[in-house]
Symmetry: C2
Subunit: 336 residues, 2 copies
């Protein structure tokens, strides 16, 4: 077991769980952890091209993992998937900010309509299921103060942020009006094995990792002083399991953060050191990135630490080492 704050050992044993986006980066880690804890796990994934879902991500979990290759927006698929499960981990979605600006209708479908369809399915077919939503700190927009706690106003600066906020509002509404038990985690920058590295549109970390592993040159937009919180993916999966299994978490919103916010330049230097190759240089922001960049972000995650006892267990260097080693061995799998 990784981490000092595992999800409850017993909460998931023999229970049924659905993981949407279960073949994606974080989703596959949630599946892995649930199976390790003895749950009966189903993943549903539409494998939308470019989103990061890969059968390879769960190859080590078959045949224990049941997989449904369907789109949550299809009512019958969503209802069949939620039928009889105790827990729903909602990881499916579009996460690229730049793609949400160039194809907002697609982002609307895969983040908003899909979430609504999932909640409607639960309302109709399984209102007792406990739902954990993987949200994002992007809903806050540009920080008005630091660190950003959960009471910070939500002022999204891109289409993806608007849609992720709407998804949160659905979850809160369905809890309040329809009694669905749910918890929202606002994830910050998650990294680790299984992350999409094929294109640079899903955040910078995966792309930097790939460049480092390939011994290439990392282009750092801006001056590199922007600070970010990074979470290793197993710590994030643990947080989701912990929150979904904690009755006191239902109806709550929790930030995830790290113990050590890091500047992008420091991150890149550490990454190159771990990889033992590669280089970096500064480049100006392209206009379409600058307009939706949120600047430095520092997250206050004291609520989840205090209320649920979560804390990240994998230090940045260790997490980067595990990530780099993974892609050194398996990079080709992610470029197919």
């Amino acid at each position: 077991m990784a981490g000092a704050n595992p999800a409850p050992e017993t909460a998931y044993r023999g229970r049924r769980a659905l993981v949407t986006g279960g073949l994606g980066f974080i989703g596959s880690h949630v599946c892995r952890r649930l199976l390790a804890l003895g749950a009966d796990v189903t993943a549903i994934d539409a494998l939308v091209p470019g989103y990061g879902g890969l059968e390879w991500n769960v190859e080590d979990l078959r045949p224990d993992l049941r997989v449904i290759f369907r789109d949550l927006c299809e009512r019958d698929a969503a209802e069949a998937a939620v039928q009889g499960v105790d827990y729903v981990f909602h990881l499916a979605g579009q996460v690229s900010h730049t793609e949400s600006m160039t194809d907002p209708a697609r982002d609307l479908r895969n983040n908003v309509a899909a979430t609504l369809s999932l909640l409607e399915a639960c309302r109709r077919a399984n209102p007792a299921a406990r739902i954990a939503l993987a949200g994002t700190r992007q809903v806050y927009g540009r920080p008005e103060r630091a660190p950003v706690d959960e009471s910070h106003p939500c002022r999204p600066v891109d289409v993806n942020g608007i849609h992720k906020r709407a998804a949160e509002e659905y979850v809160q509404l369905y809890q309040e009006v329809h009694g669905l038990q749910s918890v929202i985690l606002r994830l910050t920058n998650t990294y680790g094995p299984g992350q999409l590295v094929k294109h640079p549109r899903q955040g910078f970390i995966g792309w930097f990792v790939r460049k480092a592993v390939e011994g290439g040159e990392i282009e750092l937009m801006g001056d590199g002083t922007q600070r970010r919180d990074l979470n290793f993916v197993e710590d994030v999966a643990n947080a989701l399991l912990l929150a979904a299994a904690s009755p006191k978490a239902w109806g709550r919103v929790y930030n995830l953060g790290s113990s050590e916010p890091v500047s992008l330049e420091a991150l890149v230097r550490l990454l190159l050191e771990v990889a033992g190759r590669g280089s970096y240089r500064f480049v100006p922001f392209p206009p379409e990135r600058k307009s939706i960049d949120v600047g430095s972000v520092e997250i206050d995650d004291s609520r989840i630490r205090r209320e649920l006892g979560w804390q990240p267990a994998v230090p940045l260097r260790e997490g980067l080492e595990r990530t780099v080693r993974h892609y050194e061995r398996h990079l080709a799998r992610y470029l197919e």
Copy 2:
């Protein structure tokens, strides 16, 4: 000209305007006012069943009014409609709170996807168009204070409110990132000739008016003490025209309110007096209404009065008289 604060007499002369939902209640009044001011006006309306769009609403405006019977969600329809216009008044949408809860996917399509499609069409085909969005004070949810000004937090309590807020966020984002000039008005309870009275799902006023005109019995949910601001539809149309034509309004959000918030019981008594028939009784809230009711609301509209010089010109009694007289003559048209 109705009202002490008309939209600029000259701003619209010879200019081209598009009114989405132009065959609906408020949209048809916007068309009428624009035509009266010498604009070249096109309405686009999908006449979604049950939403309130009626050819009858603009019968007096033909053939001056050009009408496109298409759905904004269709990309080619939206692009063709915005082509070459100076102003876009976005009135199309689903306004029933209860329907948004029973069929949220339909509300998503007609409020969110349609707005996104319209903005994308402007971005691609006509980024110079000035856009006025008819929003709603429903985005505030249950008031945390009274009166509610524009800085009040947005905590929608139903699916419709979530979707209307997302539409606002799109408009603000497209202004900030893509430079589309826009203004948002948050309407409160609008009433007047042309309002949907066929079913009770689009707010209480239309339904009360119909009951009064028919000499029937009005069922007042709760104890009748809930207070609301009411605006006569011509005052609302004037506000939209004024805001769209005012450069200092672009990028701003404005509440509309009345000078005289009224309790629902007082409203009903006045309505029955004006109609000269009908009765009322109190009934308990049905659970599906109670769960999304926002209680008393009192709106602070001092911003639009101060910055744009708008004020409502039609007192409640006069507005109700004009409304009741309209439906006494034309009720059958609205029940087809």
